[in-house]
């Protein structure tokens, strides 16, 4: 697993140490402990961690809610650990979305798999979002190419097939993507009319 940047929000020093130990045992991660609620939002934004660990009952959770809203849900996985290990609650939380619940620092061996689950889920969402963005981009490109074809057909009195061939040939000659050529053509046509 790649090196992770982790923020642990925990006021109790002893407990924070136990959690850090548990995390360190699972790999070489960059771990920052924040014990003061002051400036929390700013510090998290500055560090842009891969994951934030916070007690499910910590009042500062509402600050994280605001961060999640600003950055868009799922931009950053927020994991939480709880005092009492409630397996059902943990599972339900992980399945439901924004937050994963990680069991107490007294059982460091249990932090790892749940941390993995939280991050895997995060990456899954990220992948889904990337795929969605790629699909959207492809659709946009097709629209641009269609417009460029229409411009060529009108300006040069050629049919659609010939317009497409011309775009493709220009792209190959210049070693550029067809969508880029189409984009330039559409922009230039816009300037000329």
């Amino acid at each position: 697993m790649a090196r992770l940047s982790i923020i642990v929000i925990e006021r109790d020093r002893a407990r924070a140490l136990r959690i850090v130990d548990g995390l360190s045992a699972s790999g070489d991660h960059a771990i920052t402990v924040i014990s003061e609620p002051t400036g929390l939002a700013r510090r998290i934004a500055e560090q842009s961690p891969d994951i934030v660990l916070i007690d499910v009952a910590d009042p500062s959770r509402d600050v994280l809610e605001e961060l999640a809203l600003i950055s868009g849900p799922m931009e950053r996985p927020v994991a939480m650990f709880v005092d009492r290990s409630d397996e059902q609650l943990t599972r339900a939380a992980i399945e439901s979305g924004v937050s994963a619940y990680v069991v107490d620092g007294l059982h460091p061996d249990r932090i790892k798999p749940i941390l993995d689950a939280a991050i895997a889920r995060f990456h899954l969402f990220q992948k889904m979002r990337a795929e969605l963005a790629a699909t959207r981009a492809a659709l946009e490109e097709r629209k641009i190419i269609d417009r460029a074809k229409a411009i060529l057909m009108k300006a040069r009195g050629i049919d659609e097939e010939a317009a497409y061939a011309l775009l493709r040939k220009t792209a190959m000659d210049q070693n550029r993507r067809m969508a880029d050529i189409a984009q330039q053509l559409v922009m230039a046509a816009g300037l000329l009319t």
Binding site: P37, T38, G39, A41, V56, A57, D58, P59, S60, R61, D62, V63, L64, E65, E66, L69, D86, L89, A92, A93, S96, G97, V98, S99
Partner: protein
């Protein structure tokens, strides 16, 4: 009647009183309920526990179930607000530095004049004003935005979430310049010398719904017997709380270590309508600072849901009409009518009203003849009516 046990989540604030009083003074027991009151530390925790089945009902910020219904939270089963628990109870507090500068310009800290307070603040405030609220979806956020909308201060306004018990520290450390919070946390900041109170929430909006009783729709519809018992117990506690002679007792009970764990004197201020606006003990009387029952305060008007949803939709780029429609569906006037009629609650003829329309207490048609609604005007004179009605 068998004793049923319900788990109720609350966040330590004066307006958790209806749940605490329902249990402590036996209104719950009268309905055959034993309430297990669970003190929570954040609204996110309250939402998560309700969504995941860790509690059966919650004392919750009125806009929170609305935001959930609009998909602005984790994917939990739908939440319903079955009754409003409190109206008002918020105060706006500015830092000691700003307060001194405002005094320097002759501001008298009257606590009830939004225009004077805003002008005094605008004269001394930094270009970028940072204001703390307890949660992104809160009545406090609505009040602050409304107060500063259209004013020069709005351009540089940024709103930050700060948990209520940390408001005093955030103000003292300069993390925020001002905040809007429910009692006793505004008085707590004053007592700590972190700031001075400039305005009651009710001065901005005469009838701002603050907390509601929120259940999952599955519970509210699937367990009607317990839902009804809970609503009646809490409704009677609200009625008890709005008798002036009971407020001192309420303050004493709320302040106990297992609830707010603060000196009684602090929660008394909001409950007895006597706020200290500064640490030097300048007292301002604000009649009806917080209401739990009077003026049909408990009725979950669907127009309130629409009004709050409109702002949330605008801020988050959602379709306004659709947002209003969805939000109105989670304010359960139908359950309120069904379960509280037998307890003797007077019920209005309509479930939607024109918000902001009343400057004075006004009588409207109800099942028992007439009911008196409290004033609900906005200081900016806006009136709001949802574009459609739902019974």
């Amino acid at each position: 009647m068998s004793m049923a046990s319900l788990r109720l989540g609350y966040v330590p604030l004066t307006d958790a009183a209806p749940l605490i009083i329902a249990q402590e003074l036996g209104f719950a027991a009268e309905e055959g309920l034993a309430l297990k009151l669970i003190r929570l530390q954040s609204w996110a925790q309250s939402r998560d526990l309700l969504g995941l089945g860790g509690i059966d009902a919650a004392h919750m910020l009125v806009p929170l179930p609305i935001a959930q219904s609009l998909g602005l939270g984790p994917a939990y089963p739908p939440f319903d607000l079955v009754m409003v628990l409190s109206v008002g109870g918020q105060a706006i507090c500015v830092s000691t530095a700003l307060a001194q500068a405002m005094r320097g310009k002759g501001h008298g800290f009257g606590f009830g004049d939004p225009l004077a307070a805003r002008a005094a603040l605008a004269a001394v405030a930094p270009d970028s004003l940072r204001v703390g609220v307890p949660f992104p979806f809160s009545t406090q956020a609505e009040l602050v935005r409304r107060w500063l909308d259209g004013n020069a201060l709005a351009a540089g306004l940024s709103i930050h979430t700060v948990p209520p018990p940390q408001m005093a520290d955030a103000l003292a450390s300069g993390e925020v310049d001002a905040f809007c919070v429910g009692e006793p946390w505004a008085s707590y900041a004053v007592e700590r010398g972190a700031g001075a109170l400039v305005l009651a929430g009710r001065a901005i909006w005469a009838s701002p719904p603050e907390k509601g009783l929120v259940l999952t729709r599955d519970f509210a519809e699937g367990r009607p017997e317990e839902t009804g018992r809970l609503m009646r117990a809490v409704w009677r506690a609200c009625r008890w709380l709005d008798r002036a002679e009971n407020r001192a007792t309420a303050a004493e009970i709320l302040s106990r270590p297992e609830y707010l764990n603060l000196p009684t004197e602090l929660s008394e201020r909001g409950l007895m309508d006597r706020l200290h606006v500064s640490a030097t003990g300048e007292v301002r009387e604000y009649p009806g600072f917080v209401r739990f029952h009077a003026g049909a305060a408990n009725f979950p008007w669907r127009s309130l849901a629409a009004l709050l949803a409109r702002r949330i939709a605008r801020l988050h780029g959602l379709d306004e009409v659709r947002a209003m429609q969805v939000a109105m569906g989670c304010f359960r006037t139908d359950l309120y009518r069904h379960h509280l009629r037998t307890a003797g609650a007077d019920l209005p003829g309509a479930s939607v009203r024109i918000e902001g329309g009343m400057v004075h207490p006004t009588a409207v048609a109800s099942e028992k003849g007439q009911m008196i609604l409290g004033p609900d005007a906005f200081f900016d004179g806006e009136t709001f009516e949802p574009p459609f009605a739902l019974r």
